[in-house]
């Protein structure tokens, strides 16, 4: 069952390096927060870019997604699709008209006002 010791020793070294990089990126994230970037949008962008880089490293190296079987990739592609749909779901609230007058009600009111004016 044992893998080639030299290969695994190399892998352990890689894990250590990636761990070090994750520490460094965390320190950068905190550092950026300390220097108070003037624009909130810029601060959010920087923090999320660094978080995405860190997440990618964990997924690719620690979770071995850089060399996985196609069934796993297939399951993950489906997950990403559903995840995006999930994140976009709140946008449906934009088309939610509960509590606001419908266009039909507005046009009916407009027609009634027009008729009232015509009578005068």
């Amino acid at each position: 069952m044992s893998e080639h010791p030299v290969d695994m020793s190399k892998s352990i070294r890689t894990y250590g390096i990636v761990g070090g990089l994750l520490f460094l990126f965390t320190a950068i994230t905190v550092g950026v927060n300390l220097i108070h970037v003037s624009s909130v949008a810029l601060a959010i962008t920087i923090a999320l870019i660094i978080a995405t880089m860190k997440g990618s490293m964990v997924a690719a190296i620690f979770m071995h997604l850089n060399h996985e079987k196609k069934w796993i990739y297939g399951a993950l592609v489906l997950t990403v699709v559903f995840f995006v749909v999930l994140l976009l779901l709140p946008n449906l609230t934009v088309s939610d008209t509960i509590g606001t007058p419908s266009s039909y009600a507005i046009s009916a009111e407009h027609a009634a006002q027009k008729a009232e004016k015509a009578e005068k």
Binding site: M1, S2, E3, P5, M8, S9, S11, I12, Y15, G16, V18, G19, L22, F23, T26, T29, V30, N33, A43, I44, A47, L48, I50, A51, K54, G55, V58, A59, F62, M63, K69, W71, I72, A75, L76, L78, T79, F82, F83, L86, L87, L89, P90, T93
Partner: protein, 194 residues
């Protein structure tokens, strides 16, 4: 009756059943945390004001370092088992569990500080989503500790009977653990910094 494909890969997928199983479980976890992240975005975008600097960045950063370190020790535990070094592999699993415990102790102090000031989830929308997200994440940490304690304790006997199956179990636990780390990598900036 022996459960098939616990070690040898299935001819159709090329994977052991447990490997595909844990990835499908993680996919469901993505949806669970995704729903909460989506809720957070909706609440934040809709809020007139959003509190800033209510959480201890120092404690959050320390916890981030702890979880990253625990991810490294977990993957090294698996690598050591692959190298047939059982005692070292087991030691790294124990170290991972201890780091996870330290994470929870830190979290306890953070929670205690908030509750001490009467700032529970009822206090504000921000704290409601903060306690929901970090509470759920904390439960996942607790689950991970339970599995690691089993693998390092009573479950370690499997190494003598079937070392490949034991190594696979450690790998699946590792995949779960890295996912828990990955969630925190996003929770930390979103809740503590932005």
């Amino acid at each position: 009756m022996e459960i098939p494909y616990t070690v040898e890969p299935r001819p159709d997928s090329g994977l052991a059943n447990g490997k595909l199983g844990i990835w499908l479980f993680l996919a469901s976890e993505v949806m669970l945390f995704g729903a909460l992240f989506s809720t957070y975005i909706l609440l934040r975008v809709g809020a007139i004001e959003w509190p800033h600097g209510e959480l201890s960045v120092k404690l959050g950063a320390i916890n981030t370092f702890i979880l990253i370190a625990s991810s490294v020790t977990m993957v090294v535990a698996w690598a050591k088992l692959k190298m047939n070094e059982f005692s070292k592999g087991r030691l790294y699993i124990i170290v991972t569990a201890v780091l996870a415990l330290v994470f929870l102790v830190n979290k306890y102090f953070e929670y205690a500080d908030h509750f001490g000031r009467g700032e529970g989830p009822w206090h504000s929308t921000f704290l409601a989503i903060y306690f929901t997200l970090t509470g759920l994440h904390g439960l996942h940490i607790l689950g991970g500790i339970a599995v690691m304690a089993y693998l390092a304790g009573p479950g370690a006997g499997l190494w003598k009977k079937n070392p490949d199956q034991y190594t696979n179990r450690v790998e699946y636990t590792g995949l779960y653990w890295h996912f828990v780390d990955l969630v925190w990598i996003f929770l930390f900036p979103v809740l503590y910094l932005l």
